[in-house]
């Protein structure tokens, strides 16, 4: 909750110290242990140092081409699916800006509380579902 709350409020990934300030209990070691448990549940993806958060889906811990603005906060998503997932998680209207990976054409979509504006854009999923977590960053 502390990790996701930080992402939701700031659009940025929290440091372990940020998480500690939110939870108010334990130490950095306990935060890192919790990260491992969340990683095992596939709700957190860590950098190689296992202390920095690469993904807390739908939020990205690093800048990406998928930029979502909602409630005056700018977020980065991991993919097109997650770009719609951010307004869905926040229960807030927003806008998604990205681009087509095939043509480079800019993508702009308004997303309301009941869903996105009508659009003919298509999401092309490259990796079969069983393989998604073999390399979730590539997926």
């Amino acid at each position: 909750m502390a990790v996701y709350g930080h992402f939701a409020q700031t659009g940025q990934r929290p440091t372990p110290e940020d998480v500690l300030r939110r939870t108010g209990t334990g130490g950095v070691e306990s935060v890192l242990a919790a990260y491992q448990a969340l990683r095992a549940q596939r709700v957190l993806v860590l950098e190689d140092d296992v202390a920095a958060i690469r993904m807390a889906p739908p939020f990205s811990g690093i800048p990406t081409q998928h930029v979502v603005e909602a409630g005056g906060v700018q977020y980065h998503a991991n993919c097109a699916w997650d770009a719609l997932g951010i307004p869905a998680a926040l229960h807030r209207a927003g806008t998604v800006r990205s681009r087509c990976e095939q043509s480079g054409e800019p993508f702009h979509l308004r997303v309301g509380l009941e869903g996105p504006d009508a659009s003919g854009w298509l999401f092309h999923c490259l990796v079969p579902a069983k393989k998604w977590w073999d390399d979730i960053v590539f997926t």
Binding site: P57, L84, G115
Partner: protein, 57 residues
């Protein structure tokens, strides 16, 4: 057939996956739940089956 997803389908997946993500004890759908979710949205076949061996173990 290319695994293409419309924006309406993608919104259905996004809300199913993430609408409770900021709540305590939120979790990802299990593989069997994923099968059902994809079927409801109209995404079927081995590509969308998280338990399929069609693309290797």
């Amino acid at each position: 057939m290319r695994p293409l997803v419309t924006i309406d389908q993608l919104w259905a997946l996004a809300t199913t996956w993430y609408s409770t993500r900021l709540q305590e004890n939120s979790r990802r759908p299990s593989p069997s739940e994923m099968r059902g979710i994809f079927a409801v949205v109209g995404l079927e076949g081995d590509f969308w089956d998280p338990m399929s061996d069609a693309f290797g173990a």
